[in-house]
């Protein structure tokens, strides 16, 4: 069959050639995942549905927190840092929830799921959507942090550790929300269901991310944030592997 590739079964393969074939399959899968990501990013840049919703939410939250904390006049105590870290992650969480289910839900709303299911390997779809969520969260993390630094006058004591916690926390959010978005795609009341399912999955990494972020806001708190960083990376890896194993069942349900 024309164009169909390298992944076709060849009964003549020997043991010595199986490894390159497996490698080729992985390369094919990653290239297909990249194609899904590029397609979704192109659509997102044209429609700006998720980006607009997420950035607007983050900006509004930062503005309101800025006004509130000005009235309170927070001093730079340990409790104040914890409050600032909590507010930052609340803003990130709700902004993320407002946009991250978009990848799968948009496919369902525009009825393109069937075309995608027939053409693309399930894992490539998951990886492509995951990459999009990761990219959106990276953008959101940078914008929200800058807004908090400027408007809420958050001072970062250990910038490198702060970025590390932000990246690891974002990774946790992206791994969890991607598989959740796939699960709720064909349900009624998608948004409500997304929030309900996200709550138990996201609370543990969020608590740790808040504690880690609070540590990095203090001078020389980078070392104290290390256990939080380790937890967030371990959580993300576990969630990512579980998602890879489960996604095909969700996708074909």
């Amino acid at each position: 069959m024309a164009g169909h590739s390298s992944t076709e079964h060849d009964p003549g393969l020997t043991l010595t050639t199986q490894q390159p074939v497996a490698q080729q399959r992985i390369v094919d899968l990653l290239q297909a995942a990249w194609a899904v990501f590029v397609k979704d990013l192109r659509i997102e840049l044209r429609t700006r549905y998720a980006i607009n919703a997420m950035v607007l939410f983050a900006a509004c939250t930062a503005m309101m927190v800025s006004i509130g904390t000005t009235f309170i006049g927070l001093r730079r105590t340990e409790e104040a840092l914890l409050i600032q870290a909590s507010l930052l992650w609340i803003a990130l969480l709700f902004a993320a929830i407002s946009g991250l289910s978009r990848g799968f839900v948009h496919e369902e709303e525009t009825r393109t799921l069937a075309a995608l299911r027939l053409a693309a390997p399930a894992i490539a779809v998951y990886l492509g959507k995951f990459l999009l969520n990761l990219a959106l969260l990276a953008l959101l993390g940078v914008i929200t942090s800058l807004l908090f630094i400027v408007l809420v006058r958050v001072q970062v004591g250990s910038p490198l550790a702060f970025l590390g916690i932000l990246a690891a926390g974002g990774l946790s959010l992206a791994t969890s929300t991607t598989i959740l978005a796939a699960i709720i795609t064909r349900a009624s009341f998608k948004n409500a269901l997304f929030a309900v399912l996200a709550f138990p999955l996201l609370v543990p990494p969020l608590i740790i991310a808040i504690q880690g972020t609070a540590a990095t806001l203090a001078e020389g708190g980078g070392v104290l944030a290390l256990p939080a960083l380790q937890f967030l990376i371990a959580y993300s890896v576990a969630m990512f592997v579980a998602s890879l194993l489960l996604f095909r069942f969700v996708w074909e349900a």
Binding site: H4, S5, Q31, K39, A114, L118
Partner: protein, 207 residues
């Protein structure tokens, strides 16, 4: 390609309602089957089962390529599917859609090949328009481009000429005749003119 489609005792149900039951049929390369029946008789559902987009409530569907058997859910590379509920990306152009579907199918398709494919379905010169700007007939033609991109040995056509003008119907006629030479065609239709394509007609009862 040596390909066979084997349908054994397949049934579909929506809730308590049986749509159809115990459907068995076998098709080889070069054969065309027309599935006809009234609205709601399960024609589209049957094609969705063949495409692996829906699970049968009973029975089994198998694609045999040589000695290798494929479940419909793993046979996306063997199947081209055209149906009214097949939607492509409205925010992308025709070229971008085809490039994307070629990429996820791991097919190399340059601009010249895309232009050829679009010309084949009567969309020459419209490759850089977004699908949102397409009429319903053009959208239907675009579905054929999507279905033919990987030159599948099995073509599943649900209401193949719906919304098409006379020229569009001629395109479909050409596609079906070309496909019959080397592969399997299954057509779900209510149009009596399309019954002529069938080497075999499967009549679904009304409910």
């Amino acid at each position: 390609m040596d390909i066979r489609l084997i349908v054994e005792e397949v049934a579909a149900r929506y809730g308590a309602r049986d749509v159809f039951a115990a459907v068995s049929v076998e098709l080889c390369a070069g054969e065309t089957m027309v599935v006809s029946g009234q609205n709601g008789s399960g024609k589209s559902t049957f094609l969705r089962l063949l495409a692996g987009l829906q699970r049968a409530d009973a029975g089994q569907i198998t694609y045999l390529v040589g000695q290798e058997a494929f479940d419909p859910r793993d046979a996306g590379h063997l199947i081209g599917w055209v149906a009214p509920d097949l939607m492509l990306y409205r925010d992308l152009t025709a070229r971008e859609n085809l490039r994307f579907f070629a990429a996820v199918r791991r097919i190399t398709l340059d601009d010249h090949a895309i232009d050829d494919l679009l010309a084949r379905v009567g969309l020459a010169g419209r490759s850089d328009d977004r699908l949102a700007a397409y009429s319903s007939g053009m959208t239907q033609r675009m579905r054929y481009a999507y279905a033919l991109i990987h030159q599948p040995p099995v073509l599943l056509l649900d209401e193949p000429t719906v919304t098409l003008d006379e020229r569009g119907a001629e395109v479909v006629d050409t596609v079906i005749k070309a496909q019959r030479r080397h592969g399997i065609v299954v057509i779900a239709t209510n149009d009596p003119r399309e019954l002529r394509y069938g080497d075999l007609v499967l009549e679904f009862g009304s409910t």
